[in-house]
Symmetry: C2
Amino acid sequence: MRRLKMIVSYDGTAYSGFQTQPHGNTIQDKLELAVKLLTGDTVKVVSSGRTDAGVHARGQVIHFDTESRIPAERWAIAMNSRLPDDIVVLEAQEVDQSFHARYSAKTKTYAYTINNNKFPDVMRRKQELHHPRPLDWEAMREALRHLEGEHDFTSFCSARSTQASHVRTIYRTRIDHLGDRHPDYQGVYRIFVTGNGFLYNMVRMIVGTLIEVGEGRRSSSEIPEILEARNPMHEKLTAMAHGLTLWEVRYDSGDGTAT
Amino acid sequence: MRRLKMIVSYDGTAYSGFQTQPHGNTIQDKLELAVKLLTGDTVKVVSSGRTDAGVHARGQVIHFDTESRIPAERWAIAMNSRLPDDIVVLEAQEVDQSFHARYSAKTKTYAYTINNNKFPDVMRRKQELHHPRPLDWEAMREALRHLEGEHDFTSFCSARSTQASHVRTIYRTRIDHLGDRHPDYQGVYRIFVTGNGFLYNMVRMIVGTLIEVGEGRRSSSEIPEILEARNPMHEKLTAMAHGLTLWEVRYDSGDGTAT
């Protein structure tokens, strides 16, 4: 039995999220079907973590076990020809049995993209939250910095969470104005958050709160109090799914990855 | 009666092209319907030129006449709230009756985007031609420069064309490697062609020929002979519609545009 690790990107627009569901059209289903079409085997695909309906991935990581002898370097093309065109395998490699897409992950980066222009960009409408009202991006950067470090993120987690611990560490945050480098992205901002793990709806609730700060309805200095309150923010603050992308998952060099 | 000029962008993926067709779901139909929903009037929308099924527009220009007294500056938002989300009016202004979206146009720029990476970009798959085999972009730039100037473009025009004259002028061409400015566009190239008008399938046949040059199956120095032959290239050279975008239409300052 071999274990394969793959990096997968997908446009989540047409799916009910990553994880298999009773009535759902999910990314996991499509990946498992592609493996079955390719090898004849039924496998269980394990991801670094589920993504919700409408959420995209630039670098989701999965693993599964297979008896197939197809060389690792041929898997990406073979999978892609059996996948719908909104799911693309970018890389495949054989890894040690000790590698686990979820448990071996050291950091995850999510990106949330906001188009702050008067009108949406028609080509990117499924990947950008359109927010035509002005936002104070400096205040938002300041608010975001207050979230760096180890905190109990109960305030930024769905009240329905059943996780034992809400303590997570955010290592790095950044807000880029994409228009600084590329004229087609004038007025488009991308919020990056890198951490050791994220609670249910955590990034979307953080972004919803940043938008309140950007609109001047909250001060960035309120963030430490909000964290300390350990009281889930109102659900309506959850920013829409389509602006969110699982950007990158990192594993350290000692994770059993055979290169 | 007032004449309104609008700049419209659209994702052509879901449409049978710009122009109204007997059984077609077209951009023109959607625009005329939005005007009807807004004003109650049936108008005829005139564009700078039709775009084919699957072709996009960043800056299509239209005009139509209306009795409505809605101020010009309120039209864009009013139209957008009545249009599907893959069509966006970016700008509206009142113009003189002498302005005509098609006949007053001085230059048009088309852009064709090619993703030359091993795998397609999942988010941009409907706007980029994926061409994984290596291309010689310098040879393609050279070939494209041979097309600048006034020429009879019969060789780069569908054999089905019924136009009286195939003489057109290409003022400027350019191929940008978008990855030079934006890391997310590594390996993605955009071909710009600006001219005083384009024949049916002209840009797509030019791009198909450039790809042959880029693959080394033709030399860039053959372009002058191809032009002189005035013999339509094979239809299969027509590059796929989805990589093409009507980028910009320009009118000169004496075109009756009231600003």
